[in-house]
């Protein structure tokens, strides 16, 4: 198992290099001159040129990339063009709220999703199943920014139970995590249902039934255990959806996280921040997929040895 994990991690190195290079090229393709932008509107051409040399932007692009990578390995992500603060400091402030929001969202989504999925599978073809299926397909189809705005109207404006934005108290996390988790909950419901329906038809379940086990023990003790592999994989894959969704939901709720930082930085053409955020987002995504792969290998030895 340890060997498998090491092999998987080493396999990621070329991918990480390629991703960092692609992002670097992306940022350099953005029209506009960062040196002029930083120097300000009143700067003379000489001042802009001096700044360009100072920033190293006059060097060949490959050399710039190597310098960037060197600094990256030293933990230096550059400085924000807007506030001149180190990018690492900006991330320090924003990372935790975003992480908490993600964990809360995926947490309730898994809890309710698995529960609804189990109910749907057990009552297959009857009304609880239709209820679960309709909830699931609605959750997939609803735009999360709209869901967020509707909830602000209902719970912040009309009933004043939760705040419309900000995270001064725990209440500030409730509406954003609901808006962000709804789609994931829907996916997990669907996959739990389909996986459980399949598992319940297998021989070992028939054996368990013939041994006189109660229906509850069969579902929670035997069937769900096997279906969890699929559910875990799906939950992991939804993480990308979560990262993208967080950008939109954080904007709706004025949530001080990484997603809103990305949109703000794009609007202000704050390239060093955009570049580092893109890198962090893809890194998170790659890491989560790696963890899912490893878990999958752990549950399913066949994959490990191939």
């Amino acid at each position: 198992m340890g060997r498998y994990i090491i092999k998987r991690i080493i396999g990621l190195i070329p991918l990480l290099l390629a991703v960092s290079f692609l992002i670097f090229i992306f940022i350099h393709l953005i029209p506009g001159d960062p040196a002029r932008l930083m120097a300000g509107k009143d700067a003379t051409n000489d001042e802009v040129e001096a700044l360009r040399t100072y920033l190293g932007l006059d060097k060949p692009i490959l050399e710039q990339y190597f310098i960037y990578m060197k600094e990256l390995f030293q933990g230096d992500l550059g400085h924000s063009l807007r506030s001149n603060a180190p990018v690492t400091q900006l991330f320090g402030e924003r990372f935790l709220p975003s992480l908490q929001l993600s964990i809360l969202s995926i947490g309730w989504a898994m809890l309710i999703g698995i529960l609804l999925g189990v109910i749907s599978a057990v009552f297959r073809g009857r009304w609880p199943d239709y209820f679960g299926t309709i909830t699931a397909i609605s959750g997939i189809s609803v735009p999360n920014f709209w869901l967020g705005l509707v909830m602000i109207q209902l719970f912040a404006v009309q009933f004043n139970i939760f705040p419309a934005g900000g995270i001064e108290t725990w209440k500030g996390y409730v509406l954003p995590s609901f808006a962000l988790g709804a789609g994931i909950m829907a996916m997990i419901t669907r996959f739990t249902r389909s996986s459980l329906v399949q598992t319940l038809q297998e021989d070992f379940i028939r054996t368990a039934r013939s041994r006189g086990l109660g229906e509850r023990a069969i579902i929670f003790g035997h069937a769900l255990k096997k279906s969890m592999i699929t559910v875990l994989t799906i939950a992991g894959l939804q993480f990308g959806f979560l990262l993208g969704g967080s950008i939109v939901v954080e904007t709706v709720f004025s949530f001080p996280g990484m997603g809103r930082l990305l949109i703000d930085s794009i609007q202000f053409r704050d390239y060093p921040v955009v570049q580092s955020l893109l890198l962090i987002f893809s890194l998170e995504f790659i890491l989560v997929n790696l963890i899912v792969d490893i878990l999958y290998g752990f549950f399913n030895p066949k994959i490990r040895y191939n």
Partner: protein
């Protein structure tokens, strides 16, 4: 003369066979009531897309400062906006934009992905490795993050939103078509074609590609809903359609400040996106069960 006769007969034979096949699929599709009703709604949406500008109750561009921010009433079923424009009329003309972006982005991604997938799967070796590695790199980005990065480079606007969404849809189409191609390539009739010296391009276009079509259609239908949401999200973030445009995401973005005062401005554009995506997803599910039962969940 006799040769022509035979060809015609063959065509007729093929046609009747396809016809009965189609009827069989249609019958099995009709059994799924939810998918069937969704199809009716989709047809209605298409009619709105086609005839939109001629069926609006009011001129969607006309400002009327005597009736700004009016709540829904019999005069204005979905209320009016901050300029007194009729929201329902704007939603009707906006359908073209919102649906158009989603559909064209997915189609563009499907064409690019199918070409890459066919080439990758059929030629194998280094061609396959290069294409699949590039896909791997693109898969390392969450979809919306990649789209936002693309729009940041290309600048905001509907055209660039289409390119951005097509860009992140391409790798998944490529991977699916490649998988199908790898499997089809090994079948006996392809080997037969090869043995009689058929050109590679002919084998790909006449024999491999037609076998992948049903999978591609299913995958397109399943993806359009998501693409419409992505496009609306980009417009909502201020990266897509201009705020004055009647595109549904842009309408939502423009009316954010009116939350608490004129909720109908937020409610109806979002509801339009929701219903559209919902029926597309339901229809996609039904279509998949009929055309591609092996991937049924």
């Amino acid at each position: 003369m006799s040769e022509t006769q035979i060809t015609t007969d063959q065509t007729q034979f093929v046609e009747t066979k396809q016809d009965s096949n189609f009827k069989r699929l249609l019958r099995s599709f009709k059994k799924n009531k939810l998918a069937l009703y969704s199809l009716y709604v989709i047809i209605l949406l298409l009619l709105i897309v086609i005839f939109g500008p001629w069926i609006t109750p009011y001129d969607p561009q006309e400002a009327n400062y005597d009736s700004i921010l009016e709540a829904p009433s019999w005069q204005h079923l979905a209320g009016t906006d901050e300029f007194g424009k009729d929201v329902l009329s704007r939603l009707i003309v906006g359908a073209r934009l919102s649906l158009g972006v989603g559909v064209s982005a997915v189609l563009l991604g499907a064409v690019a992905g199918t070409i890459l997938g066919l080439i990758s799967g059929f030629f194998g070796k280094w061609v396959d490795r290069v294409i699949m590695r590039i896909c791997d790199i693109l898969f390392a980005f969450p979809d919306l993050v990649l789209a936002i990065a693309m729009v940041a480079i290309l600048g905001p606007g509907m055209k660039n939103v289409i390119i951005a969404i097509a860009f992140f849809s391409t790798p998944s189409f490529a991977r699916i078509v490649r998988g199908e191609t790898l499997e089809i390539k090994e079948r006996l009739f392809i080997e037969a074609e090869r043995s009689i010296g058929a050109k590679k391009s002919r084998i790909i276009l006449r024999h491999v590609f037609p076998q992948t079509i049903s999978t591609i259609i299913v995958y397109i239908t399943m993806n359009i809903g998501g693409a419409i949401i992505s496009a609306a999200s980009l417009s909502f973030l201020g990266l897509g359609a201009s705020p004055s445009s009647p595109e549904w995401g842009a309408m939502l973005s423009a009316s954010r400040d009116y939350i608490g005062h004129a909720f109908h401005l937020i409610f109806f554009p979002g509801l339009a996106v929701f219903i559209t995506v919902l029926v597309l997803n339901l229809f996609g599910d039904g279509l998949r069960d009929v055309l591609d039962p092996k991937t049924r969940d």
